[in-house]
């Protein structure tokens, strides 16, 4: 063939390829427009709607397990410690004198919290993933009894009452409290708690149980959030008081103070209603302690200092004499020691206004915080030896329990449970996620807004796009893998971008997270399954849920009127992730929103991530259609009656 022949052939081939590409592109655009019913869309990757397989996602794959300690319990004679290892489905017994593990027992369902009976011969275990409480005999360390409780029990406390021995269990997902008869295990009553009950403490006389709730129940849009301290009579299970912790949440600990009639609850004082123009001076959040007296009066005091913060308060323990409280700051790897005599002295001197304003005074904590004790990574749960001589700290991401001599406030040893797991990028990423040192003055960690990678149920006003503009609901990071782009307006193509320099500028106000840490952080985030995935996955649907499923996938209304494709639920919320990962307008643009196009969120675990919509204005799923629906733009719902709407919501709760 001649040279010009080759050129001609080449040109023909190029033309053919070009035509094919052009034709394929034109076809794909046509295809997208037909199947989404949206003429505004151009080219969209096939992956947006096809080839998504749950089993291929990082969170659906097996991951390394670690000996991360959660709940602790100390034997009555102070010689043995019981440690719950939820990630390994084990409870272990350790010898305090030698720091060695002496026995292990398998307990299925993520054993998370422990409580001993008064005689010390029975150990009660709350299993977070199995929704049950198990009794172990301590002499044989064998399971002898179990009972079903609410969803995701994470705290348990034993109480000897005139009515009999009781267990009070905080069920963090079903938002209720199981009150159990201790032997044999039997649920007596399950009163409603606040949102995410997470810690339980019993008063010295056994007459009251204090349940700290981690999140605020969503209320009116832009109102001041308040979590709840639920006080109940453990004997009868009757709720005595629901004390609001104003503008406070993320309480993960509770303690009753012997001899003072106080209960103490660590808290995050959140300031989500103020534009995030700065971080300094606790502008976004600060940490404190709520002191509730028997009359229900609550004083919030700061634990932070003017230029140093102690992020993510978690467990709390008080010595038997009621002289000192110890508070774990999980994000700062610090135990703060509060002198309760000094605190009482300060409270006695302070007038009502001073007490009310105390939490805002960042220079106050020196009045009562007498020491800060460093720990290894992520101190969470605390336990005190019966004689008050030793404080035990579960260093969750270090796979160890630190023992602190309370006389010298110096460490006296460490019970090593595992290797710390630093070979595992997911574990390293969790360390990054929980570490406050990435933010200015260690003010908060990723976990401070995303407990367990989930939501804090609040909306925030970032200043990067204008003060007062574009309020954003905090989205869950659970089940986030495969759902890019990120951010409500979909501008971040990857988690690395989402959590990278932009984040350092608008929120952390420090340097960006180093690249290797960012990679690990991404691995961790992608490993987070949607809330309660294992419990819901592949479970048979109830008739109501089946009906709801039909509505979700309906192409026509009850009377046979076709539903436009772009308003059919499953067009945008396309299985298996229940998102097509495109921006959509569903008529929710607010007066201060710069756009009406928002990222279509995935719906896995949607039941647990209230509030809803891009700015969090809908406090329940129902409100999406009963209050914030505009001209059937967010799916056609105007034909539904109350029962149909309920069915739809019941189905959504199964996702």
């Amino acid at each position: 063939m001649t040279k010009s022949g080759y050129i001609t052939a080449g040109l023909v081939v190029l033309l053919a390829i070009g035509s094919l590409v052009y034709g394929a592109r034109a076809w794909s655009i046509h295809h997208v427009r037909v199947w989404t019913g949206r003429q505004d869309l151009g080219y969209v990757s096939c992956n947006n709607c096809h080839f998504q397989r749950i089993e291929k996602l990082p969170w659906a794959k097996p991951r390394p397990r670690h000996a991360a300690p959660s709940g602790l319990a100390i034997s009555r004679d102070g010689t043995r410690i019981y440690i719950a290892l939820d990630d390994l489905d084990e409870v272990v017994e350790g010898d305090i004198a030698t720091g060695m593990i002496t026995r292990r027992v398998a307990v299925a369902g993520a054993p998370f919290a422990l409580a001993l009976c008064e005689e010390g011969d029975r150990l009660f275990v709350a299993c977070r993933n199995a929704d049950r409480v198990v009794t172990l005999e301590t002499c044989g360390l064998k399971e002898v009894d179990s009972v079903e409780v609410g969803d995701a029990p994470v705290a348990i406390a034993f109480s000897r009452t005139p009515a009999g021995d009781r267990l009070v269990v905080a069920n963090s997902i079903s938002d209720d409290i199981s009150v159990l008869e201790a032997a044999p295990l039997r649920e007596i009553v399950r009163p409603q708690a606040g949102r995410e009950p997470f810690a339980v403490a019993i008063s010295q006389d056994g007459s009251r149980a204090y349940v700290a709730n981690r999140l605020a129940v969503p209320e009116t849009f832009l109102c001041v959030p308040a979590s709840e301290l639920t006080v109940l009579d453990p004997g009868r299970g009757r709720v005595l008081n629901r004390a609001p912790l104003i503008s406070a949440h993320l309480s993960e600990g509770a303690a009753a103070v012997p001899g003072r009639d106080w209960s103490l609850v660590p808290l995050v004082k959140v300031r989500n209603l103020i534009p995030i123009t700065q971080v300094a001076n606790g502008w976004v959040m600060s940490c404190g302690l709520a002191i509730a007296d028997r009359q229900g009066n609550i004083t919030q005091i700061p634990i932070d200092e003017a230029h140093d913060y102690f992020a993510d308060p978690s467990g709390i323990a008080v010595d038997p004499a009621g002289k000192r409280a110890y508070l774990a700051s999980a994000g700062s790897d610090i135990i703060s020691v509060v002198d309760l005599d000094k605190l009482e002295g300060w409270l006695a001197k302070a007038d009502d206004t001073t007490r009310e304003e105390a939490i805002y005074d960042l220079s106050l904590s020196l009045e009562y915080v007498v020491a800060r004790i460093p720990t290894a990574r992520n101190p969470r749960q605390l336990a005190m030896s019966p004689d008050g001589g030793t404080l035990f700290v579960s260093e969750r991401l270090n796979d160890s329990v630190l023992m602190i001599d309370t006389a010298t406030l110096e460490p006296r040893g460490r019970i090593v449970l595992g290797d710390g797991g630093l070979h595992d990028p997911i574990r390293r990423g969790e360390s990054v996620f929980t570490k406050a040192s990435h933010t200015f003055q260690r003010q908060f960690s990723c976990r401070s807004c995303h407990p367990d990678g989930h939501v804090d149920g609040l909306s925030y006003d970032f200043d990067g796009d204008g003060i007062g503009d574009n309020l954003l609901d905090n989205r869950s990071l659970q089940g986030v893998a495969g759902t890019k782009p990120f951010k409500w307006i979909g501008t971040n193509p990857s988690l690395e971008v989402q959590c990278g320099p932009r984040f350092a500028r608008v929120l952390m106000r420090t340097e960006p997270i180093p690249p290797n840490d960012l990679k690990d952080l991404t691995a961790y985030l992608e490993s987070l399954p949607p809330t309660r995935w294992e419990q819901k996955h592949n479970k048979p649907l109830t008739p109501s849920q089946e009906r709801g499923k039909e509505i979700f996938f309906a192409t026509e209304t009850a009377d046979g009127t076709p539903i436009p494709r772009e308003r059919q639920c499953h067009t945008c919320h396309r299985p298996p992730l229940f998102t097509n990962r495109l921006l959509s307008s569903v008529g929710t643009q607010g007066p201060r929103d710069a756009t009406d196009m928002f990222d279509t969120p995935h719906l896995l675990g949607i039941a647990h991530s209230a509030p809803y919509l891009h700015d969090g204005r809908a406090k329940t799923l129902e409100e999406l259609w009963t209050v914030y629906q505009t001209n059937d733009l967010h799916g056609v719902s105007s034909y539904m009656d109350k029962h149909q709407l309920n069915d739809l919501i019941e189905y959504l709760k199964t996702l």
Binding site: G420, I467, G468
Partner: protein, 500 residues
């Protein structure tokens, strides 16, 4: 906790884990390279500087007959003053001059790697003071700044860039010079960028571990002899100008603030102008406005400098007789909690030792992604409640409430230009856009237009900065209460300079 240090444990475990999981030659090479680098760093300096070395400023014990000092540094560092390297066993004959070729030098700051030192110096009597850099191996210093009016007080931010104060004030006129000294950052190869824009001088910067620049300035009015010098902070891009400590307290002369162990700030303080009365005081970072105390109660004057060492001790240059003009200024190493002055670590009858700093690698402060938007002409001021003041915190007083605020800008030489008035929202909040990099003053006005509180032009916003405050003269170290300010429900009013 040393043996159980979690980070060390983590590192060791990480290495073990990596070894267990293989990785081959490349990993080994990387480990070797890392170890080599670590050895270099831990050696303090690749240039062979002995461990425990000290960089020091020496002034001649006998002053040469010269003209009256022109400026502050002429006064502080008379001709012949020099920056030297002193190594153990600290013999007077073994000092190595780092400021060779300069007429005078002083105020050395060692970089994070412990390999270089920055200091102020001048070549000749007619030259201005500039910042010089010298490698500790004794090579001749290189000039790093060329500021009109001179540069002084070097400090180093996380990026390794130099922060300094300029111009050098006339002798005895730090607070009354026409052009007050401001802080600048000098990124190598770029023009220096101004960081502070107040009406009072900004001097003596140091960089805190959290990345902020702490410096000495004056309260509104500009003269600390009248209204008290104070410690202030900015971020390393000049944003978030904030009072840090001492503000509003007794008149005093403040110099050389330094972050020291125990989360404290040490500084030299004197009730009268002049170093001879200076003693070392501290404030706690946890409670900076309510914790002023003496660091060395036994030394009530004559202190020239104090610098922390990594071991927890302090390098202190002082005259044991409490007299600055005495030739006895020597270097001491003082243990924390020490109740009597120990014997000098180093003395030389021919030289007065007036500043000293340890030579060793140290941790970098935290960095920060700048929030300044270059090219923008304005920044935003948001006040949550102009009626919240420390004089009547919590709005519990029945005093008259402000209904409007008037904003003014400094027009130089003590004159103000009006920016305009803005009504307060019912919750006391307001939001305005104001010109960037200009000293702004705020007056709260009652319904009759009477001024309730006045903040003379002293704060500024950087281009694109969103600056917030809890109140006007709000209590120090106060965090805000969680309520959405009504002012943010409307777009901010843009104010511009109208009538000079």
């Amino acid at each position: 906790m040393t043996g159980n240090d979690p980070d060390n444990l983590a590192r060791v475990r990480n290495r073990k884990a990596e070894a267990a999981h293989g990785g081959g030659h490349r990993k080994s090479l990387r480990v070797m390279a890392g170890a080599f680098a670590a050895v270099l760093v831990s050696a303090g300096c690749s240039s062979g500087i002995p461990e425990g070395s000290i960089v020091m400023t020496q002034c001649p014990a006998e002053r040469a007959a010269t003209n009256e000092p022109r400026d502050l540094l002429d006064q502080r560092y008379p001709p012949g003053s020099r920056v030297v390297l002193l190594s153990p066993p600290f013999s007077a004959v073994a000092v190595r001059v780092l400021s060779e070729g300069l007429l005078a030098a002083g105020n050395p700051v060692v970089c994070f790697t412990g390999e270089r030192v920055f200091f102020a110096g001048k070549k000749s009597a007619s030259d201005s003071w500039q910042i010089y850099e010298s490698k500790l191996n004794g090579r001749r210093p290189i000039v790093r700044t060329s500021m009109p009016g001179g540069a002084m007080d070097p400090a180093i931010i996380s990026s390794g860039d130099l922060v300094f104060s300029s111009p050098v004030p006339e002798a005895g006129k730090t607070w009354s010079t026409k052009t007050p000294a401001a802080l600048y950052v000098q990124v190598q190869g770029e023009k220096p960028r101004q960081l502070t824009f107040g009406t009072a001088a900004a001097v003596e910067p140091t960089v805190l571990a959290d990345g902020r620049v702490l410096f000495v300035s004056a309260r509104p009015g500009g003269n600390p002899m009248e209204s008290g010098a104070g410690l202030f902070t900015i971020n390393n891009d000049g944003t978030e100008f904030t009072a840090f400590a001492l503000a509003g307290q007794d008149s005093l002369h403040v110099r050389r603030p330094r972050e020291i162990p125990g989360s404290r700030i040490a500084f030299l303080a004197a009730m009268e102008h002049g170093c001879d009365k200076s003693s070392v005081e501290t404030v706690l970072m946890a409670r900076p406005f309510k914790s002023r105390t003496s660091l060395f109660p036994f030394q009530t004057g004559g202190v020239f400098s104090v610098e922390p060492e990594s071991s927890g001790t302090f390098l202190v240059c002082l005259d044991a007789n409490g007299c600055a003009e005495s030739p006895d200024a020597s270097l001491y190493r003082i243990e924390p909690g020490c109740s009597v002055l120990p014997p000098p670590l180093f003395e030389d009858r021919n030289w007065r030792q007036i500043e000293a700093a340890q030579v060793e690698p140290r941790a970098k402060p935290v960095g920060r992604v700048s929030t300044v938007v270059p090219g923008k002409k304005t920044g935003t001021l948001l006040c949550l409640d102009a009626n919240l003041t420390r004089h009547r915190a919590g709005n519990s007083s029945p005093q008259v409430k402000a209904e409007r605020v008037r904003l003014v800008a400094s027009a130089g030489e003590g004159t103000h230009a009006s920016l305009g008035e803005v009504p307060l929202e019912p919750d006391g909040s307001f939001i305005v856009k104001v010109p960037a990099d200009v000293p702004i003053g705020i007056e709260t006005l009652d319904s009759q237009g009477e001024v309730l509180y006045r903040l003379p032009p002293m704060l500024w916003v950087r281009p694109g900065e969103n600056r917030s405050c809890v109140g006007c003269h709000e209590p120090y170290n106060r965090s805000p209460s969680n309520k959405r300010p009504m002012a943010v429900n409307t777009a901010p009013v843009t104010l511009t300079i109208t009538d000079p």
